[in-house]
Amino acid sequence: MTEKERLDILEEWLKLHKGLIFKVVRAYTVEDHDDLFQEIIIQVWHSIPAFRQEASVTTWLYRIALNTAIKWTKKEKKYAGAEILDNVQHLLQENRIQVDERLTWLYGEIYKLDEIDRSVTLLLLEGFSYKEMSAMLGISESNVGVKINRIKKQLIAKSKNYDNHGI
């Protein structure tokens, strides 16, 4: 596969599925959107030759984006900092749209979860089945079920506070 073909695929995937990557970026960082986004794009680019169409592009991208986001730490951000300061060209800009406050709250609650639970929550909200989640996460379906039950209970309980305070 030539570099040109690889870049074409990357551009097409980005055009069609960028929303998916945005969601992961938003759920995993409050500040360094650019850096995590860049890291995910690079990992996606690396993964293109290995894509065999056994999975859908969405599943493939979700897995790579989550893999990258989970391992993305403050340490890595620190290293990347110098590069960002040198090159103040922002990759992402907030879309100036009226965002549902409840969505902002939901992202806030997802962000409070640990890295693994964030992945499970994103996959759950995206409507992936237990079987798909189990394959993507590499753990058993029953383990996925246990995590989901706990996360759902937690989110519902917190939403009651949110409803009560009418934030």
Binding site: L14, K23, V25, H33, R63, L66, N95, L103, I116, I139
Partner: protein
């Protein structure tokens, strides 16, 4: 709020992307990062292999032309070639092992943990390998009547290598511990 309602709120954002991408900036950043990230592990492995190979070659090549050829320098060169063989075998094993991990998040975490273990092991080998190499060099200096000078050079080199590798080893071990914690979180229901 019930979970189904949260799902509806979540789905509603699909029609309104959260961000706008600056395509040109993205292209520039990806291109510049690609060239560095892509070959980093390979470069460090091959530069080690080449360093030992060239240093061993120089010892073998120049020793016969020196007055009073030193047997310990030949021994040092042979040791260096043996280390090169070890590095090449480790490199091949690493490439083969990287194909064994599945493409799930669990598999990816395992792969990264194994890579970090490999890097820690490599740094430790570089560090401890200086001991036998230094010992042979000290014997060589002793035979050539330059024991004090050679010992001083070995001591400085070892201290330097110890300092440089320690930082890398500590950073990789810390990163490995963090990933192991993530792996445990993934494996347990908590």
């Amino acid at each position: 709020m019930e979970f189904d309602e949260m799902k509806k709120i979540w789905d509603a954002q699909n029609n309104q992307p959260l961000y706008v991408i600056d395509e040109k900036a993205l292209h520039n950043r990806v291109q510049s990062k690609m060239s560095t990230v892509l070959r980093l592990t390979n470069i460090s492995e091959w530069s080690l292999i080449m360093t030992y190979l060239v240093a061993g070659g120089i010892l073998i090549g120049l020793n016969p032309f020196k007055r009073g050829a030193n047997i310990f320098l030949y021994l040092e060169a042979i040791w260096m070639f043996a280390v090169v063989v070890y590095f090449v075998v480790s490199h091949i094993r690493r490439i083969k092992a990287s194909r064994q991990f599945d493409r799930s998040i669990h598999g990816d975490l395992n792969h990264t943990i194994s890579l970090l273990s490999y890097q820690v092991r490599l740094s430790q080998i570089i560090r401890w390998n200086l001991l036998p190499m230094g010992a042979i060099m000290i014997f060589s200096g002793w035979e050539a009547g330059k024991l004090f000078r050679v010992s001083a050079v070995i001591l400085v080199s070892y201290t330097l290598a110890f300092y440089v590798t320690s930082k890398g080893i500590r950073a990789n071990k810390r990163r490995k511990r963090e990933l192991q914690v993530l792996k445990e979180k993934l494996e347990t229901g908590n």
